[in-house]
């Protein structure tokens, strides 16, 4: 199935390199998990105690693909590919420093991809560092340096290389400030992206206008001030992001969380685009727990999608397509083993179009050993034009303490046919084996039939290691 001929030596090199990468992990896996827990000598108690968490995931997929239907829908040849992905995540917590005990944390997350066999134009190796930061926590101040994320408030979600300083003053006042260069979305710069021409009423992409990314010109800065006390929180934040052509976004954010009683909490968030003087996003919610077994969240959202994008996007100059959304989420727990989730939302778009979406999910853990889990979901989406009914049934069964099997089936039934099809379906199954607590091997496969594929079959193999180590010293 897999043609390795010409790339055999390259594949071998890759496999050897991959195995070398795993050696330290495998060696570590052979050791007892909690090495320090049995060490009770005074010497071990006196030393620094820190936690290390290391996760490695290797994925191998196998599928046939056709990169295009071809110009004017022409048929093209398919190729069988086996991409290999490696994900690594490392976290170290509570390391002592000369400044303070338990004050240093480290985080690293990265992925890499390569190919076995055919890879038609794809690079042999690809990858990215997702997070690489070190955090120093002192009494009321913490500083994080490196590749990190800032989330919530005016920033919404931004990854950047830089520094974040957080402080708590006067007991209840929280201050934070950050600055750095934002991490460019690599997906936007895919290889083999060529601009060959266009249909008559479309200008072709003007390549001189597509400037090469200069990291120095993509920067961001922001901060947040918040008051928190007795479960109440009130925050105000600002975020400015720049691109080579100018301002990408300049937002003012507000957030509120206010308990009304032991069973009701109100809250809200808003992102105000300062340069446009419009709300990009505003959400109000009310969390209710009328019964111990019932959680309900009432929700209202007003949003303008265009303002969530960079203002250097064409959205910035052409009108908004705002819409409002209101509805609720609910979760009812009949017992620890049976629960019901529901959601119902309605949308009113700027063009007076009305849409809606709803979902009802039943989850049951069956049997005396509670090893079998069943989930049934029905969902309905209507956009004012087309829409669909969806059914998802999921089954998970712990065959033994080491073996776990899952099976899922999805069905979608469209109001209006898509490419002539009224429905599509996906079937997936996995079988995983956990020889030791730290290691899990998973095999999975999926089959689907859809308007875009008569038959789509994929298989994957995943090997994951999750190591948690406490050094065993005394805090």
């Amino acid at each position: 199935m897999l043609s390795v001929g010409a790339s055999k030596s390259r594949a071998r090199t890759f496999v050897v390199a991959w195995l070398c990468l795993q050696v330290p992990v495998l060696a570590r896996a052979a050791e007892p998990l909690h090495v320090g827990r049995s060490a009770t000598t005074e010497a071990s108690l006196a030393r620094d105690r820190y936690d290390v968490s290391a996760i490695s995931e290797s994925h191998a997929q196998l599928f046939r693909r056709a990169l295009l239907p071809g110009p004017n829908g022409s048929l093209v040849s398919t190729d069988t590919v086996t991409p290999i992905y490696e994900y690594v995540r490392l976290g170290v917590r509570d390391v002592d420093t000369p400044l303070k005990k338990d004050s240093l944390d480290l985080e690293l997350a990265a992925w890499a991809r390569s190919w076995l066999g055919e890879r038609k134009g794809e690079g042999l190796l690809d990858g990215d560092v997702q997070t690489a930061s070190v955090r120093l926590r002192l009494q009321t101040v913490s500083v994080r340096l490196g590749r990190q994320q800032v989330f919530g408030g005016a920033a919404r979600f931004a990854r950047f290389d830089g520094v974040l300083v957080e402080a708590r003053v006067f007991g209840q006042l929280e201050l934070s400030a950050y600055a750095g260069w934002h991490v460019l979305p690599r997906w936007n710069e895919r290889r083999r992206y060529e601009h060959l021409g266009a249909a008559p009423d479309n200008l072709q992409r003007d390549t001189p206008a597509l400037m090469a990314a200069q990291r120095g010109q993509y920067w961001l800065i922001g901060g947040r001030v918040a008051w928190a006390g007795a479960g109440r929180q009130l925050g105000l934040s600002v975020h400015e992001q720049r691109e080579p052509l100018g301002l990408a976004r300049r937002n003012l954010g507000g957030d509120l969380r206010w308990p009304l009683s032991a069973r009701a909490v109100a809250g809200g968030t808003a992102v105000f685009a300062l340069d446009r003087r419009r709300f990009a996003d505003a959400r109000l919610w009310l969390d209710l727990s009328p019964l111990e077994e019932l959680d309900v969240t009432l929700d209202f959202l007003h949003t303008e999608p265009g303002l969530l994008l960079s203002q250097q996007s064409i959205f910035a100059a052409f009108g908004p397509s705002e819409y409002d959304e209101a509805g609720l989420n609910a979760r009812l727990r009949f017992s620890e083993d049976i629960g019901l989730d529901g959601a119902l939302f309605g949308q009113r778009y700027a063009d007076a179009r009305i849409g809606g979406r709803g979902e009802l999910a039943l989850r049951v853990r069956v049997g005396a050993l509670r090893r079998t889990f069943v989930r049934l979901v029905y969902a309905r989406v209507s956009t004012g034009g087309n829409g669909y009914h969806a059914v998802r049934s999921s089954l998970s069964r712990a065959i033994s303490q080491r073996w776990l099997a899952t099976a899922e089936a999805y069905g979608y039934f469209y109001d209006q046919p898509i490419r002539g099809y009224r429905s599509s379906s996906v079937y997936a199954a996995t079988l995983s084996y956990e020889p030791v607590a730290e290691l899990r091997v998973l095999c999975g496969a999926s089959l689907s039939r859809s308007p875009y594929a008569e038959l789509d079959a994929q298989a994957q193999l995943r090997i994951s290691y999750a190591l948690g180590v406490s050094s065993g010293g005394r805090r």
Binding site: A228, L247, Y410, S425
Partner: protein, 348 residues
């Protein structure tokens, strides 16, 4: 119309899976639990001719290694000498699994006046057929742990590596609307969230540089609600039309175009068919045209193909002095100078 995949077969398959699962699960029997209550309270003991009274420490070692006894049958044989085989199999039964390891000072707690040396003060579940481990709520009924709570410090009771795998069931339980509002919560409670979750975990969903979605990486987590569920590629236009904000929170329009281009369904690709109907663009500024109305209805759909930065084809017609007319909506206001950024491409 082309034949559709059979919805009936899908329905039967789903129903069959559920029935088989329920049937198999109903047939299973839980292994007998060790009858703690019988041994600790019901059996007559202590008098002459009776066995010695048992306590928790008769079998369990108190301290860090407080695992249940396994294979230590000498004490048991005092009474159960005749059914050694049953005894061995009972002791070999699987232990109750706990979601996390707690770092806990048993000696200190047993010495407390409220506990009075009684293990069942916390582990009452072993005699009432519940969980042998106390709930976190039970811990907090004596300890407020206010200082740790304020600092969102779950350690040293919990270890960080365990926390990242532990689901909160009572405290900090994630409710049904959690997925929808978790961003705001994370912004408000950074320290609290980061006591269990590392920033790296955010990347599972939020790093769009990676090609493997969470659905592909964790196919066995069938209990999760997923963002890109099932054959999302077929439905993506519908989803974008239903909740456009949800898409653009993570994806930029280039995401759409790069994919469409590769698959030959982009107007920017040589040889593609013009997807627009006749009358899409009028012959002059006053002629009727369809594209303006559609752009007002669903600009996100336009930008999926036509988002080309500052030299977009929209500007060619709609710049000041060109024949396309003013594209701005009523009430349009920008705080920027017209010599800056995007403005200058039309207002030069």
């Amino acid at each position: 119309m082309r034949p559709s995949p059979s919805s009936a077969s899908f329905g039967w398959l789903s129903l069959g899976c559920v029935l088989v699962a329920a049937l198999v699960a109903c047939l299973e029997r839980a292994p007998a639990r060790f009858p703690h209550k019988t041994h600790l309270a019901a059996v007559a003991c202590g008098s002459s001719g009776q066995p010695d009274c048992l306590s928790c420490t008769s079998c369990h070692r108190i301290g860090k290694d407080s695992d249940p006894p396994r294979g230590e049958t000498a004490l048991c044989r005092n009474c159960h000498a005749k059914d050694a085989a049953r005894l061995t199999s009972a002791l070999a039964a699987k232990r109750e699994l706990h979601s996390s390891q707690i770092s806990f000072n048993h000696d200190g707690h047993l010495a407390l006046a409220e506990v009075r040396g009684q293990c069942v003060s916390c582990h009452g579940g072993v005699v009432s057929h519940g969980s042998s481990m106390p709930s976190m709520q039970q811990c907090f009924s004596c300890h407020e742990h206010a200082e740790q709570w304020a600092k969102a410090q779950c350690t040293p009771c919990h270890s960080f590596s365990d926390l990242s795998r532990t689901l909160p069931r009572t405290f900090l339980r994630h409710d049904a609307a959690f997925l929808r509002g978790h961003g705001a919560l994370a912004g408000q409670n950074k320290a609290l969230c980061q006591s269990c979750h590392s920033q790296a975990q955010c990347n599972d969903c939020h790093d769009i540089s990676q090609e493997l979605t969470l659905e592909r990486r964790r196919p066995e987590q069938v209990q999760r609600t997923r963002v890109h569920e099932g054959d999302v590629m077929v439905r993506h236009a519908l989803e974008a039309r239903s909740e456009p904000s949800r898409c653009v929170r993570c994806h930029t329009p280039e995401t759409c175009e790069s994919c469409h281009f590769e698959r030959g369904v982009s107007a920017n690709r040589f040889g593609s068919i013009n997807p627009h109907p006749p009358g899409w663009i009028g012959t002059n500024a006053t002629a009727s045209s369809l594209h303006g109305r559609e752009a007002r209805r669903d600009l996100v759909a336009c930008a999926a193909c036509h988002e080309q930065g500052p030299l977009t084809n929209c500007i060619r017609c709609h710049k000041v002095g060109a024949y396309g007319g003013n594209p701005h909506p009523n009430g349009w206001h920008s705080g920027q100078s017209s010599s800056q950024g995007m403005c200058r491409y039309c207002h030069e």
